[in-house]
């Protein structure tokens, strides 16, 4: 019901992690090239409908913010709609609307993206506008200050009004001891309230440039034509002279089992959320991320997953139980488990049952049948993905801004196919170790013995 402008991708679990394209399964030929000013372009042809999805992904996100300025990457994303010298506020959106297009933007820890979905003959129009606001943004306080109220309302809507989202923020903050992934993408409220026009412009000038972005175009377009249009539009934007490498503070080795409890008067359904610090595709050794992907599927995706089967069906201690893994991250990523107990079951009871499921998997490994089922599903996702040009564009964009390449994405089905049962068990043994984790409880009232846990 509510408008979704400037939605954020806070977690890139599940589907996005399963990003892929199977060239050998009849997928399209994908073009990948770089302009003279350093802008990378990826073109994914899909000629079924006369529409095109045009996205620009900047290699900057919340994790690149200066300490004390949390929420700035996302705030700037909102402010990017406030106009340039050439195109005053609202003009870009009006033109997109008039040609029947859709547009939006999103911010995550590692990237910030803007997109338009338009009739294919309008591709150049949106490229011109997007190239213009790459360096031409103009901001004054009369647009910046109301927009700051908008992001504060967005924080209320996403987090403040939602106890589970509040728990997720706390678990993330406790998981990352040193790395900026511990800060919420939307920001901490007290810092959001102080963000200024100068903060936004400073961030913009530092990070928005052709040599810090990748344009992904999916749909009814020919790669050669896309390249020509890109040269005419983005090609004119000068390269940024001093683009620093993306090096963030590293996590120390995790040594303590961490637990926390969030009590919120609105909680009617208690919940448990655990996260482990694990490798992403970018930081993992060969095959490690793929094994974690398969592990998450077997452990916690669907009615026959280990967690659901054991906790919801056999032992009947949980209402829901699931696991997920986020492979797209520039730095160390997360493996998550969540569940809600049935009435009469406590969170510590649920937690020990979860631990038992994990212990058994580490001890006995997974069956060949489970392995095959998980792979079938994950590889099928690559075919299903080809049906949706916007999904394809998102998957490539996310991979290319988190240390992956076009080839990595293309070979994804092969990489999944190669995962062995031993690798899955080894991944569980190595990474699902409690010292690497934070377990969060969401409860209605603070009971003294639970509170001591934190």
């Amino acid at each position: 019901m509510l408008a979704k402008k400037n939605f954020m991708i806070i977690a890139l679990a599940g589907a996005l992690a399963s990003s892929s394209l199977a060239a050998e399964q009849g997928g399209p030929e994908i073009a990948d090239f770089t302009l003279g000013n350093g802008l990378e372009l990826v073109v994914i042809p899909d000629r079924r409908a006369p529409v095109v999805t045009h996205m620009i992904w900047y290699r900057v996100g919340a994790a690149d913010e200066t300490p004390g300025k949390s929420g700035l990457a996302h705030f700037l994303e909102h402010l990017m709609f406030k106009g340039t010298a050439k195109n005053p506020a609202g003009k870009f959106s009006q033109v997109v609307a008039r040609i029947g297009g859709q547009e939006n933007a999103f911010t995550a820890q590692d990237y910030t993206g803007y997109y338009q979905r338009v009739p294919s003959e309008q591709l150049k129009t949106v490229m011109e506008f997007e190239a213009d606001r790459m360096t031409g943004l103009q901001l004054t306080d009369d647009v910046v200050l109301p927009e700051r109220n908008v992001i504060l309302e967005e924080q209320n809507q996403r987090i403040g009004n939602n106890p589970r989202a509040r728990l997720g923020e706390q678990v993330d903050a406790a998981l990352y001891l040193n790395h900026p992934y511990g800060k919420p993408v939307i920001g901490w409220r007290h810092e959001m309230e102080e963000l200024s026009r100068d903060d936004a412009i400073g961030f913009y000038r530092r990070f928005y440039a052709p040599n810090n972005a990748v344009v992904v175009i999916a749909g009814d377009v020919d790669p050669a034509q896309a390249r020509a249009l890109a040269e005419e539009t983005y090609g004119k934007v000068p390269r940024h002279g001093a683009m620093a490498p993306r090096i963030r503070a590293k996590e120390p080795p995790p040594v303590a089992v961490r637990s926390l409890t969030l009590a919120d008067p609105r909680v009617e359904m208690p919940a448990l959320q655990r996260e482990y610090l694990v490798p992403s595709f970018a930081t993992g050794k060969r095959g490690e991320s793929e094994a974690l992907e398969v592990l998450a599927h077997i452990l916690g995706n669907g009615s026959n997953s280990r967690l659901y089967r054991s906790l919801a069906v056999d032992k009947q201690v949980a209402v829901v139980a699931a696991a997920w893994y986020e492979s797209s991250a520039l730095d160390m990523s997360k493996f998550g488990i969540q569940g809600s107990p049935r009435p009469g079951v406590t969170l510590p009871q649920l937690e020990s049952e979860i631990d038992a499921v994990i212990a058994q998997l580490i001890d006995k490994g997974v069956t060949e049948e489970e392995l095959e089922r998980a792979k079938t599903r994950l590889i099928a996702d690559a075919v299903y993905a080809q049906d949706n040009q916007a999904s394809m564009a998102r998957w490539y964009g996310a991979a290319l801004t988190t240390g992956g390449s076009v080839n990595d994405v293309r070979r994804w089905p092969d990489r999944i196919r190669a995962v062995t049962a031993d690798q899955v068990r080894d991944a569980a043994r190595q990474w699902l170790e409690k010292r690497r984790s934070v377990t969060g409880y969401l409860i209605k009232d603070v009971s003294p013995q639970v509170e001591k846990r934190s």
Partner: protein, 443 residues
């Protein structure tokens, strides 16, 4: 023996125009050997098949003291069928990456299927089992019921649910549309396996069945598979009639107290039936006031100029027996009254003056151009076709749509704006809005 199949009654090429670009998509009407009609779009580029179907008879068929019955039945369809228990049924789906979806709306039961081409026979076999022989085993039923109840319990403090539920209950008292599709904490425990069987028996039938298929499949194969999944269903459904209704409580404002930092506002009034000659004019006018785009009046006034909310919008909602216009926003407690005042003022202004000629032209241009974006994946096409079937708009609707939009004049738009927004709104607010109280009269 394979009989001669698929009498293709009509093949129709729908032109989807996005500005100057035009592409062709052929919608075939096919009829299976047992006489079931379906619309087919053949798309060979990707080796998959997508099916959407709908049975008339959704949550309106629930007994008042057992609301949530249809919804629970839908939840249970993949929890075991025929000889297969829940675990085996899910394994069969997962082994071949088959997706079956079941969803209940107020008037319709909606189903979907997605499978890789190589597994489509297995997919349609599983669908047949789910529709014809669902087991409703006691252990699975209690597990799924427990999940529904946990969600309902959780929603008792969720401001979005509180506001929306109160709106519907107040607008449609003593009518199935006022009841919650998912039921309540009181009604869901009462539902028995026999209630679920009864729902399935009365609703899953071949008459009033709407089917759309998109994918790498020919008419002949599609006809065989349709019969395999649906051919064994009873010829006729057995539905309770639903009385026509109009939303009541217009002009009222109801505040529901709940401790949240942000108040959630729902507002709405009398809408317009899908088959009303003024529907397209209303659709355009609503788009201008509060439709999805970033240039709607509500978006500009509430968010862009004043920063009062992250989102604000309204839309037309139509059923078989009622229609409403329904909107919402969420805003901080100390500015809720301001946001509501701005929204009410914009609604009044739209009712009094209608849109400008420029706004009308821009909206028409958007609605024509953006249609192609709703038809760019197999899944979206199947959903769109199924809705066109449900709304009884005709197989040539995609072709006619631009003409319908172009035919709306500024006079139509002004007249319909008055009709749509002149009747007052029922407003519900969940939160602690400062200075706002429940009232019986409009401001």
């Amino acid at each position: 023996m394979i009989r001669l199949i698929a009498s293709i009654l009509c093949g129709l090429v729908a032109l989807i125009c996005g500005g100057g670009a035009v592409s062709a998509m052929t919608i075939e009407k096919i009829v299976s050997p047992s006489g079931i009609e379906a619309w087919l779009v053949r798309e060979k580029a990707i080796p998959l098949v997508t099916l959407n179907y709908a049975f008339h008879g959704g949550a309106t068929q629930d007994e008042a003291d057992k609301s949530g019955t249809a919804n629970l039945a839908a939840d249970m369809l993949d929890e075991g069928a025929g000889d297969l228990d829940s675990k085996t049924f899910h394994e069969r789906m997962e082994n071949h990456a088959i997706e079956l979806g079941f969803q209940v709306g107020r008037d319709y039961f909606h189903g979907s299927l997605r499978a890789l081409s190589e597994h489509r026979d297995e997919a349609f076999d599983l669908l047949r089992l789910a529709l014809l022989n669902p087991r409703f085993d006691a252990d699975a039923l209690e597990r799924v019921r427990g999940q529904e109840l946990a969600t309902l319990q959780r929603d008792t403090t969720n401001p979005n649910d509180l506001s929306s539920r109160r709106w519907w209950r107040t607008a449609f008292p003593d009518h199935p549309y006022g009841r919650e599709t998912k039921g309540t904490l009181e009604t869901v425990p009462r539902i028995t396996a026999d209630d679920l069987r009864n729902y399935v028996r009365r609703v899953f039938a071949r008459n009033e069945l709407k089917i759309s298929i998109v994918g790498d499949i020919d008419a002949k194969t599609a006809s065989v598979l349709i019969d395999r999944a649906f051919g064994g269903l009873p010829a006729k459904n057995d539905l309770k009639p639903v009385a026509n209704a109009s939303p009541s409580g217009l002009g009222r404002r109801i505040v529901i107290n709940v401790d949240v930092p942000q108040a959630v506002v729902t507002f709405g009034g009398q809408g317009i039936a899908r088959n009303d000659p003024d529907f397209m004019a209303a659709y355009i006018v609503n788009h201008i006031l509060g439709g999805g785009s970033f240039s709607s009046r509500l978006y500009r006034e509430v968010r862009e100029k004043r920063g009062l909310a992250y989102g604000v919008s309204d839309s037309l909602v139509w059923f078989r027996s009622a229609a409403v216009v329904l909107g919402g926003t969420a805003t901080r407690a100390d500015r809720t009254a301001d946001a509501l005042a701005v929204i009410e003022q914009e609604i009044k202004r739209m009712a009094a003056e209608g849109p400008t000629a420029d706004e009308l032209a821009a909206a028409k241009s958007f609605l024509k151009g953006s249609y192609a974006l709703t038809l760019d994946t197999s899944g979206k096409i199947a959903v769109q076709l199924n809705q066109i079937q449900i709304d009884n708009l005709g197989i040539d609707y995609i072709q006619r749509r631009n003409t319908l939009i172009d035919a709306v004049t500024i006079e139509d738009a002004r007249r319909v704006a008055r009709r749509l927004y002149g009747g007052g709104m029922l407003v519900t607010v969940a939160g602690r809005p400062k200075g706002l109280t429940s009232s019986e009269t409009t401001e």
